[in-house]
C-alpha cells in the first residue's frame, strides 16, 4: 500500500500531520482530512465487510450517504459504532476499527455467506424460518443477529455531556454550499436574522471540491470569504458540523450540532453534541443533490467510487484515486472529474458514456467510449478490471479505480417530513420536492438546478425574495462570472444494465442486489412499500439515500411503469442517525426530572427521616430511631405516639389553592357536590369534588378565611389537576362568575400536629386561645405566633382521628417553626411522624385517599351518599350521578376488613371471596384498597370495596391473593377502626 496523496493542493494543512490507527495499524493524515480521505491517502481501500454477504467494501462516497465505510471509533463509554468514515473528521490519536468481520477484515469467515448467496435471496428468512415457531426467538433470530450486523454498541455509560437549545430566525438556510451561501448573504445583508447550518466542518459544500472560479476567485476562497462575511454579521449564526435532521409543525427544524465529535478529549464543561430546535419564519433547503450509483456486477468492489466523491477527494484532500482510472458516466459531470484528474497529471484509462453523443465538449486525452456500459467489475478486495460492453462486444480493461455517475437526485428529505410526497419529473429524471411547501423553499441543486452559476443565482434570488417577503429591503447579490462551470446535463436514465453477470448491488448497506428486486416483483411484492420490506432495500441506517432511486427505477422497469407511478417510500425524520445522547440532552441522571423539595425537608432530614419519592416530591416516610430493627417498628411507635401523646407531620405537599372574589363561594358550591355557599368565615369544611360523570375526582378541606377568600386543599397527587379543573370551571364553564384563583402550594409550609396533647403544645407558640370553645373542631383562622413575630393560618382538622391541627406558616419560616414546635412538644412526647404512620392512622380512622378514590367510585360507594346535596340547583357531576348503574344496589362499597386470626395478614390488592367460594374471577366480590398493621387493633386491618359491602358488616369472607397463592380468613366490618363516635375530634 503506497501513498495516494498528491504532492500539492487540497484544503489540507500539511504542516499539521495527524497520527491515527485503523484496526491497530498506525497511519498518518493531515488537518482537514476526513477519516475516509486519510484512509484513501494511505492506500487503504478495504475498510469494512457488508451486512449480509460479508463482501469486502471500500469507500463509495464523500458524504452523509456513505453506505459502506462504517467503522467503530472511540473506546469505553465513548465507543461509537457505525461511524461514517466520510463524515468523521480526522484528529490526532483517532482509533478506528472495522466492523462485521471475524477473525479479521482480510480473512472473514462470514464471507462464506457469499457462496451461499443463491439460497440467501430476498424473502429467504420468511420462507425458511417459518417453523417451528418457538425456534424463531431462541435459534433463528439470535443466529441471524450474530451473523448479520453492524458495529456493537457499548454497555458502558456515556461520560460526555449533551444539551438542547432553541433558536429563532427569519430565515434558516439548510446547507452552506453555493446556493445556501448566496441565499444567506442576500438575506443577511438586508438585516434578516439568518441561521445557516451545514453538516461539514467548514462552509462551502460543493465549492470545497470545485475547480471553477467565481469572479476570479477559486471556489474554496469564495466559500471562505462568504463564510467570513456571514460570521462577522451580528444577525447571522453560522453553524458548521450541524445536520438539520427534521422539519416539524410550526416550521420548527431539528438539528444536531457535533460540537466536540472531532476532538480526542472533549472539554468536560462543553457538550459533545447539541440538539437545536430552530423556529424559522422561512427556510431555504439548499441541501444539494446526491449522485446516483449505477447497477452493474461488482459495483461494490473497493476502488469503485462515486464520481463526485472521487473529485472531492482529488481536489479537496489531494488524494489520487488510483493509477489507472475509468469513468462511467451518464451525464456531463463525469467530464469535470476527467478534466480535474488530467490537470493533476493522472491517467484516465477510459470514459464510458452510454449516450450517443456524450462528452461533446471533452478535450482531454482519455479514450472516450460512447454507447457503452460497464457490465461487471472484477477484483476481490480491490478493483482490478472492468468489462465494457459496446453494441454486442465486451472488452475487458485493467483499471484500479472506477468513478460512477448515474445522474443526480435532489436531496429533498426534509421537504417531505410533513407529509408531502415527492413528485417525479420526467424532464429532470428525478423526484422533486412536493409542489407547495409552506415555509420551506428548495433551492439550487435541491430543486433540480444544475451548475454552479445557476445555483448561485437561484440561491441569491430565493434568499432575497424570502427576506423581502418578511419586510426586509433585500435584493439578490450578483456574484460575478463563473469560469469552468460544468453543469451536468440531464442524465440518460440507466436503471438496468444489460449483460451483467455478477452481483449488481442496489442497496449496498443491506446487500440488496438487482435480482432481489426482480424476485420481489415476481412474487407479488412489487409495490414500493412491499418491495422495501421484502428485500430490506432502503431499510439500513442510510435509509436508502443512494439506493432508493435505483430500486424505484428497477421496480418501474420490471413493472413496466414510470418511476413516478412506483413512487417513493415515506421520508421521515431523522435525515441521518442522531445519537440518543443528543435526544436526551442534559436530562438524565439527577437531572432526569426536577426534584420538588418541601420547606420542611431540612427539618425532616435533621430528625433522621427516610424519604420516599411521591411524584416529584420527596416526602418523609418514617423517622427511625437507634435500636429499631425495621421500618414497621418505627411506624408502629410513631402511630402509638400520636394516639397517646402527639406527633408532627409535614403536609406541605398538599395542593393549596386560594380562591378570591365575590363569587368564590358560588364557584365552590358548583365544584363540590356538598354545600359551600353558607360556610361561615373562620370555618373549614370537608369537600368532595366529582367529575362530570359522577365519579369522585378529589377531596380535601376548604376554609373560608374572609368573606370572599377561601383556602382549598387538594390531595398531593391531584394538586395540579384540581387547579386546572378549577381554572376551567371559572374560565370556560362560568366566565360570568367573578373569581380569582391562585396556586399557593409553595407559599405555605404546612404541618399537622396530631394527638391528645397537640393543643397544649401548639398553645406554646400560638398567641390566640386554643380552648375548645374559642377554637372548636373545624375552626380555621389566621393566627399570630410567638407574640406577634409571625402570622400563620391554623386549621382544626384531623386526618388521624385525633385532636389535631394543621398549621400553615410562610414557607421560609417553616423549618424554624417546625423546630420550635418539636422543642416545645418534647416534654409532652411529641415526635415527628412520616407518611407511613399517617397512612396507618387514616386507615384506622377509615379516611379515604386515592387508593379508594380510584376513578370508579361514587360518593355513595364511599359512604358519602348523604353528603351529596339534594337541594343545590347544580354542581359538577349532578346529572350523571343519577344514572342507574351508579345507583345499582350491588355496587362495590367501602367496608372494613380484619383477619379472623390476628396473627394472619393480607395485602392491598388482594380480592374478596365469599366464605368457601372457589377462587375464580366469577366469584370475585371486590378488593382490598388499603391495608396496614394497626398497633391500635393489634392486627392487620384493611379498607375494601366490596359488593353490598355496607350491608355485610360481620360476615366472614376469604381474602385471596392470587399472585402469591395466599388465602386469609377474614371478617368484614365497619370501615372505622378507631373512635367511631368522633369523640377525640371534638375533645
Amino acid at each position: 500500500m503506497s501513498s495516494h496523496r498528491l504532492p500539492q493542493g487540497g484544503l489540507i494543512d500539511r504542516s499539521k500531520p495527524l497520527a491515527f490507527t485503523f484496526d491497530g495499524k498506525p497511519m498518518q493524515g493531515f488537518q482537514g482530512d476526513s477519516l475516509a480521505s486519510a484512509l484513501l491517502a494511505n492506500g487503504r481501500r478495504l475498510v469494512g465487510r457488508s451486512f449480509k454477504y460479508h463482501r469486502p467494501r471500500g469507500i463509495l462516497t464523500a458524504g452523509a450517504a456513505e453506505p459502506n465505510a462504517l467503522v467503530t471509533i472511540g473506546s469505553g463509554g465513548r465507543t461509537e459504532p457505525n461511524t461514517r468514515a466520510t463524515m468523521q473528521e480526522l484528529y490526532a490519536g483517532l482509533a478506528a476499527r472495522s466492523q462485521n468481520r471475524w477473525p479479521s477484515l482480510h480473512f472473514d469467515i462470514g464471507a462464506l455467506n457469499g457462496l451461499l448467496s443463491p439460497f440467501l435471496g430476498a424473502g429467504f428468512y420468511y420462507k425458511t424460518f417459518m417453523w417451528p415457531a418457538a425456534f424463531w426467538e431462541k435459534v433463528y433470530e439470535p443466529f441471524i443477529r450474530k451473523a448479520a450486523g453492524l458495529g456493537r454498541a457499548t454497555h458502558q455509560a456515556d461520560p460526555d455531556r449533551y444539551e438542547k437549545r432553541w433558536a429563532h430566525c427569519d430565515l434558516l438556510v439548510i446547507g452552506a454550499g453555493p446556493t445556501g451561501l448566496a441565499a444567506a448573504l442576500s438575506a443577511a445583508r438586508a438585516g434578516a436574522r439568518v441561521i445557516v447550518a451545514d453538516e461539514q466542518a467548514m462552509a462551502g459544500g460543493a465549492l470545497l471540491s470545485e475547480t471553477a472560479t467565481i469572479a476570479g476567485r477559486t471556489a474554496p476562497a469564495f466559500a471562505r470569504d462568504c463564510a467570513a462575511e456571514l460570521e462577522a454579521l451580528p444577525n447571522v449564526t453560522l453553524l458548521t458540523r450541524t445536520t438539520v435532521f427534521g422539519w416539524y409543525d410550526g416550521n420548527v427544524f431539528g438539528a444536531v450540532e457535533r460540537v466536540q465529535k472531532h476532538l480526542a478529549e472533549p472539554a468536560p464543561s462543553v457538550p459533545v453534541e447539541r440538539l437545536w430546535r430552530i423556529v424559522a419564519k422561512g427556510a431555504i433547503l439548499a441541501s444539494g443533490a446526491e449522485e446516483r450509483p449505477l447497477v452493474f456486477g461488482g459495483n461494490d468492489i473497493p476502488g469503485v467510487m462515486m464520481a463526485g466523491a472521487m473529485r472531492s477527494y482529488l481536489n479537496r484532500h489531494a488524494v489520487a484515486p488510483g493509477r489507472a482510472t475509468a469513468i462511467f458516466t451518464t451525464n456531463d459531470s463525469g467530464y469535470a472529474l476527467a478534466r480535474d484528474l488530467e490537470a493533476k497529471g493522472l491517467d484516465i484509462t477510459a470514459i464510458i458514456d452510454p449516450r450517443e453523443s456524450g462528452g461533446a465538449d471533452y478535450a482531454g486525452k482519455a479514450r472516450l467510449i460512447r454507447n457503452a456500459v460497464v457490465t461487471d467489475a472484477h477484483g476481490g478486495r480491490s478493483l482490478s478490471a472492468i468489462d465494457i460492453r459496446t453494441g454486442g462486444r465486451t472488452e475487458r480493461l485493467a483499471v484500479d479505480a472506477l468513478a460512477l455517475s448515474g445522474g443526480f437526485s435532489p436531496v429533498i428529505h426534509l421537504a417531505c417530513h410533513r407529509g408531502g410526497r415527492p413528485v417525479w419529473s420526467g424532464e429532470k429524471a428525478a423526484f422533486l420536492s412536493p409542489a407547495s411547501l409552506d415555509g420551506l423553499a428548495p433551492a439550487g441543486a435541491a430543486s433540480g438546478i444544475a451548475g454552479l452559476a445557476a445555483c448561485l443565482a437561484d440561491g441569491a434570488h430565493k434568499g432575497a425574495s424570502l427576506a423581502a417577503a418578511l419586510g426586509f429591503a433585500a435584493s439578490p447579490i450578483p456574484f460575478g462570472p463563473v469560469e469552468g462551470d460544468a453543469p451536468a446535463a440531464p442524465a440518460k436514465v440507466l436503471w438496468s444494465i444489460p449483460g451483467v453477470r455478477g452481483k449488481a448491488f442496489v442497496d449496498f448497506q443491506n446487500d440488496v442486489h438487482h435480482r432481489d428486486l426482480d424476485l420481489a416483483v415476481k412474487e407479488g411484492y412489487g409495490h414500493v412499500e412491499l418491495a422495501k420490506r421484502y428485500t430490506t432495500s432502503g431499510m439500513a441506517t442510510d435509509q436508502g439515500k443512494l439506493s432508493n432511486i435505483n430500486a424505484i427505477g428497477l421496480l418501474a422497469e420490471a413493472r413496466g411503469v414510470s418511476p413516478g407511478e412506483v413512487g417513493t417510500t415515506t421520508f421521515r425524520p431523522f435525515y441521518t442517525p442522531v445519537s440518543f445522547g443528543a435526544l436526551a440532552g442534559a436530562y438524565h441522571g439527577e437531572h432526569f426530572q426536577p426534584v420538588r423539595r418541601s420547606p420542611l425537608h431540612g427539618w425532616a432530614e435533621r430528625h433522621g427521616a427516610v424519604f420516599v419519592e411521591t411524584g416529584l416530591w420527596y416526602r418523609s416516610a418514617w423517622f427511625p430511631r437507634t435500636g429499631e430493627k425495621d421500618w414497621r417498628e418505627s411506624v408502629d411507635r410513631e402511630v402509638l405516639n400520636v394516639r397517646n401523646n402527639a406527633g408532627l407531620c409535614d403536609v406541605s405537599m398538599l395542593g393549596k389553592i386560594e380562591i378570591c372574589g365575590p363569587d368564590a363561594a358560588e364557584l365552590l358550591n358548583r365544584a363540590y357536590c356538598n354545600a359551600f355557599l353558607k360556610l361561615p368565615v373562620g370555618k373549614a369544611r370537608y369537600g368532595l369534588m366529582l367529575r362530570e360523570d359522577g365519579m369522585v375526582y378529589d377531596d380535601g378541606t376548604t376554609s373560608r378565611i374572609e368573606e370572599n377568600r377561601f383556602f382549598m386543599t387538594t390531595t398531593t397527587a391531584y394538586a395540579a389537576g384540581v387547579m386546572n379543573h378549577m381554572e376551567f370551571c371559572a374560565q370556560a364553564l362560568w366566565p360570568e362568575l367573578d373569581v380569582r384563583l391562585a396556586s399557593v402550594t409553595d407559599q405555605w409550609a404546612q404541618m399537622a400536629i396530631a394527638g391528645p396533647k397537640s393543643r397544649k403544645i401548639l398553645q406554646a407558640i400560638v398567641d390566640e386561645d386554643l380552648g375548645n370553645d374559642a377554637f372548636p373542631y373545624l375552626a380555621a383562622r389566621e393566627v399570630s405566633l410567638f407574640g406577634g413575630r409571625l402570622h400563620g393560618r391554623l386549621f382544626r382538622i384531623s386526618f388521624s382521628g385525633e385532636l389535631a391541627y394543621e398549621l400553615a406558616v410562610p414557607a421560609a419560616y417553616g423549618d424554624r417553626v417546625a423546630e420550635a414546635l418539636t422543642e416545645a412538644g418534647q416534654a409532652d412526647g411529641l415526635v415527628p411522624y412520616g407518611v407511613e404512620a399517617l397512612s396507618v392512622l387514616r386507615i384506622e380512622k377509615g379516611h379515604v385517599t386515592h387508593n379508594e378514590i380510584n376513578g370508579t367510585v361514587t360518593p355513595g360507594d364511599l359512604g358519602f351518599g348523604k353528603m351529596v346535596s339534594a337541594s343545590k340547583p347544580d354542581f359538577i357531576g349532578k346529572a350523571m350521578l343519577q344514572r342507574e348503574g351508579l345507583n345499582a344496589p350491588d355496587r362495590p362499597r367501602l367496608v372494613g376488613v380484619v383477619p379472623l386470626d390476628p396473627g394472619q395478614s393480607f395485602r392491598s390488592g388482594a380480592h374478596i371471596l365469599a366464605k368457601g367460594a372457589a377462587p375464580t374471577l366469577e366469584n370475585d366480590q371486590g378488593y382490598v384498597t388499603s391495608s396496614a398493621f394497626s398497633p391500635h387493633i393489634g392486627s392487620t386491618i384493611g379498607l375494601a370495596l366490596v359488593r353490598h359491602g355496607d350491608e355485610r358488616h360481620g360476615e366472614d369472607v376469604t381474602v385471596w391473593n392470587g399472585l402469591r397463592g395466599e388465602f386469609t380468613a377474614a371478617r368484614l366490618c365497619a370501615p372505622v377502626f378507631f373512635d367511631p363516635a368522633n369523640e377525640k375530634l371534638h375533645a
Binding site: R161, E163, R165, W166, A167, H168, R193, A267, S269, P271, R277, V279, A586, Y587, E590, H591, Q593, P594, V595, R596, S598, P599, G602, W617, E658, C660, G661, P662, N708, R709, A730, Q731, P735, E736, L737, D738, V739, R740, L741, A742, S743, V744, T745, D746, Q747, W748, A749, F786, G787, L790, H791, P810, A811, A812, Y813, D815, R816, E819, A820, E823
Partner: protein, 175 residues
C-alpha cells in the same frame, strides 16, 4: 425565644460568576400576585400607582395577572393592606414565600436561557420589561428581561434548587 430568621430556599447554592455569565438568587423579599376579575378587561385602576408608591416592580405574567416584586420583605400589616388595595377590581395573593427569584446576567445570559426556553429572546421580540410564562427545561417559570443582558427567573419555591442545578449545567461552558 426561638430563632425565627427566614430560611432562603437557595441558601445552600453559591452564586456562579464569570465575565460571561452570573447566576445568583435574589433576596426573598416581596412577591404579591394581583389577579383581576374577569369583568375587568385591560389594565386595573391603580395598579401602576400602587407599584410606584410601594417601590415594587410590576411583572405582567398573564392576562389580568401581575406580580409586584421587590427585594425587601413587606411587614405583615402592610402586606394585608396591599393585598386588599385594589379590591374589588383585583385580589392580591401573597406569594412572597411561594416563589423564588433568580438573577441571570451577562453576555451569554440569553444563550444560556435558550437551552431551556422556547421563547424568542432576541431584543426585538423580548424587550426589557417583558415577562413570559415558560418552561426552563422541565420547570415552569416566569421569565422577565430586566435589561439587555439581565433576566429575572421566578420559580415555585419547591423547584428552586432543581432549577438552579439545571441552570448551573447550562452555564457550565461559560464559567
Amino acid at each position: 425565644m426561638p430563632d425565627l430568621r427566614p430560611f432562603p430556599a437557595l441558601a445552600a447554592r453559591k452564586p456562579l460568576a464569570s465575565s460571561r455569565i452570573r447566576l445568583s438568587a435574589l433576596p426573598e423579599g416581596t412577591i404579591l400576585q394581583m389577579i383581576a376579575g374577569p369583568q375587568t378587561p385591560g389594565p386595573v385602576d391603580g395598579l401602576e400607582r400602587l407599584a410606584a408608591k410601594t417601590g415594587l416592580a410590576l411583572r405582567a405574567i398573564s392576562p389580568g395577572q401581575w406580580l409586584l416584586v421587590g427585594d425587601r420583605p413587606t411587614p405583615y400589616p402592610q402586606a394585608c393592606r396591599l393585598l386588599a388595595a385594589l379590591e374589588p377590581h383585583a385580589s392580591g395573593i401573597d406569594q412572597s414565600h411561594g416563589r423564588v427569584r433568580l438573577h441571570l446576567e451577562g453576555p451569554m445570559a440569553a444563550t444560556v436561557l435558550s437551552k431551556g426556553t422556547a421563547v424568542d429572546l432576541h431584543p426585538s421580540a423580548f424587550a426589557p420589561g417583558h415577562t413570559a410564562a415558560t418552561l426552563v427545561g422541565h420547570v415552569s417559570v416566569h421569565l422577565t428581561r430586566l435589561d439587555a443582558e439581565a433576566f429575572e427567573i421566578t420559580v415555585l419555591r419547591g423547584f428552586a434548587e432543581a432549577l438552579w442545578d439545571d441552570l448551573a449545567l447550562m452555564c457550565a461552558e461559560f464559567l
